[in-house]
């Protein structure tokens, strides 16, 4: 059950989120009006540049910021629960890199089916699942959290090396497609692609909510969870599956985005001070969305002075935060 103080925090988030999303819609360099927003929603004119920018550029970008923030944060929370380690996350444990490797393989094999949306999406999903399973396999043998993190980093380096080799031998055009994808962007998603992304992510979130009891049990250790009647093996596989869906879909459409999956769940835990995963999942959805929206607003506001890719900004904010968490744990 959600506590009273958490309800207040959720109300604050629920008020902030639409306000920030609204701000995001009008944060671009091109000045648009409320009329453009209203017109693009109610009377869309495909020849009106204002309507096009609002509906086809800003709305998908805003939606993608929210969805990617929420999805990666929940994926990070699941990883942290699975490995009982606050420093786990899809990026650190090599799941995002696994997605990248499979996308690189698919783009640079030169087979046209793989360069379609479906091809990139399925490759990213398979990559995330395979690398999730690999890290799960190693977690059986890893004696400490640090060892597992190091294994994750090594797996990430290993797949990055493969990506570099593939890049060396790829055709210029394929290399270009891959490099553009790997740079990460919230802008490339189209209005028509949004329903597919929403469907996958909603499916992931729903699965996640069905796992709340198991996640709460796992938070007190797998042995205790078994005693409570949880089928730990099955839950672990489901966690990997959900993480792979969330990470894979976002990585496929936006490219790899670093640190969100690591930083936001920790921020949620600091703010909400709970181990109740129902609360934490909802918190991650809210905070992740707000975090990514704010990052993207910063990018748009700074555009005239400095061009920042989304991946660079999330790392600039996320990396110091992770150092803070490590230092906090050490002390």
């Amino acid at each position: 059950m959600i506590q009273q103080k958490h309800r207040i925090l959720f109300i604050v988030c629920a008020v902030l989120l639409p306000l920030i999303a609204f701000w995001h819609l009008f944060a671009g360099e091109i000045v648009l009006t409320i009329n453009d927003l209203a017109g693009s929603l109610t009377n869309y004119d495909a020849t009106n540049t204002g309507h096009i920018i609002m509906r086809d550029f800003r709305f998908p970008r805003m939606s993608m910021a929210m969805l990617s923030g929420a999805g990666l944060s929940v994926a990070g929370l699941l990883m942290q629960n699975l490995f009982n380690n606050p420093l786990a996350g899809p990026n650190i444990l090599g799941i995002s890199t696994g997605s990248s490797l499979f996308v690189a393989l698919s783009i640079m094999t030169g087979i046209s089916i793989f360069t379609t949306n479906f091809g990139i999406l399925s490759s990213a999903l398979i990559g995330a699942i395979v690398f999730g399973a690999i890290i799960l396999f190693f977690s059986i043998f890893a004696k400490s959290h640090t060892s597992l993190l190091l294994i994750g980093i090594m797996i990430g380096s290993f797949s990055s090396a493969f990506v570099s080799i593939i890049q060396t031998y790829s055709d210029a055009q394929e290399l270009k497609v891959f490099v553009m994808w790997a740079m990460g962007s919230l802008q490339q998603v189209t209005f028509e692609q949004l329903p597919i992304i929403v469907a996958f992510l909603m499916g992931g979130f729903l699965l996640c909510f069905t796992l709340v009891r198991s996640l709460n049990a796992l938070a007190i250790g797998s042995d205790n969870a078994s005693v409570l009647g949880i089928n730990v093996k099955q839950v672990r596989l489901l966690i990997i599956l959900v993480t792979a869906i969330l990470t894979g879909v976002i990585t496929a459409f936006c490219g790899p985005i670093a640190f969100v999956g690591l930083a936001v769940p920790n921020l949620a835990k600091i703010l909400f001070k709970t181990q109740n995963h129902l609360t934490l999942i909802i918190a991650c959805i809210f905070i992740g969305s707000i975090f990514m929206l704010l990052c993207d607003i910063c990018i748009q506001l700074l555009d005239s002075h400095i061009h920042l890719p989304i991946n660079a900004l999330t790392s600039l904010i996320g990396a110091p935060f992770v150092i803070f968490i490590i230092l906090k744990k050490l002390t």
């Binding site: 671009g28 360099e29 091109i30 540049t49 096009i52 920018i53 086809d56 550029f57 800003r58 360069t115 379609t116 060396t168 031998y169 790829s170 055709d171 210029a172 055009q173 270009k176 497609v177 553009m180 740079m183 990460g184 962007s185 802008q187 490339q188 998603v189 189209t190 692609q193 990018i299 555009d303 061009h307 890719p309 989304i310």
Partner: protein
Amino acid sequence: MKKLLIIPFLLFISLSCGNSTTSVQQDSESSEASSILYAKHFKISVKEKRTILQIMDPETGSVQHEIDISSFKEVNNPKQASFVALSSTHIGMISKLDEANKIVGVSGMQYVSNAVVKANFKQKKVIELGEESTIPLEQIINSKANIIIYSGFGKEFPHQKQLEKLGIICIPNYDWKELHPLGKAEWIKLFGVLLNKEQAANDYFNHIEKEYKALKELAKNSKKSDCLFSGNVFGDFWYTPAGESFNAQIFKDANCAYAYENTKGIGSLSLTLEEVLQQNATCKYWMNPGASTLDELKQQNPKAVFFEAFKKNNVYCYSRKGNNFWEMSAIEPHKVLSDIIQVTHPEMHLEKPLYFYSQLK
């Protein structure tokens, strides 16, 4: 007293003038072996009967490298050049002088379109050396090359000093920094000297200069073209040639209404997608998006569909012959200009098939 002070001052001035004359006289001892008309970043001169190649620093204009290339020009038994050519344009220039057989090393075969180099690679007469920064020293020595032409991104070639001790000359080629299309093409004169084919290089350059100028004149006499924009999105930003850049110069010479012709800068402008759409939504021509089909373009940039040029199928790119453009366009700027004029000035009825460019389908 004042007069007394003026005397040493005048003496100083006269001595200073005397020094500068000496310096001019010293300079006049060296004469230009090859007249360079458009290229800004190299000179070939004769100093004390030695042929000296000077490569200028593109940033400052000062001499960055001075290389004695006399041995390649000797009347009796000149040294035979054998090249490691690390950029596509170098391959194009060497092959234009019918000396592609003198290329023994390239960066990556996947980027080569020259048939001679490809055939020689199959016969193991050409080796692949990889990226400029990570090039293996021993493989260069094995290739028996005596000249390495590199792009000069890092100013000095890796292991340059060791290679020079082995008699291998490293020459940075700043053709990519030239702002005039004929300046870029003029680098063929450098290859002409190295291959002892100066006359052929000069003749070829004079030919393309004449062609280029004639086309430019023709375009100038026509009305300005409909609006044109260029480039594509990469990551989160749209890169397009700045108003003073090499590509903008070609658009200008083709009398095109290039959307960013009045901007400052010699490189690229990075713009947001929204800005480009707002400024060019109804623009008629979209050039150089870096794709060879409309599907490929849509995959690279899903928002391409909102441009009128895309909807009306007025997108053109240098994709007719694959990598051939990168090898030959620098040395055939008149063909690039001709293509752009044909695309943007249909009223001129040039009626030649497009050479490098094709309409995306």
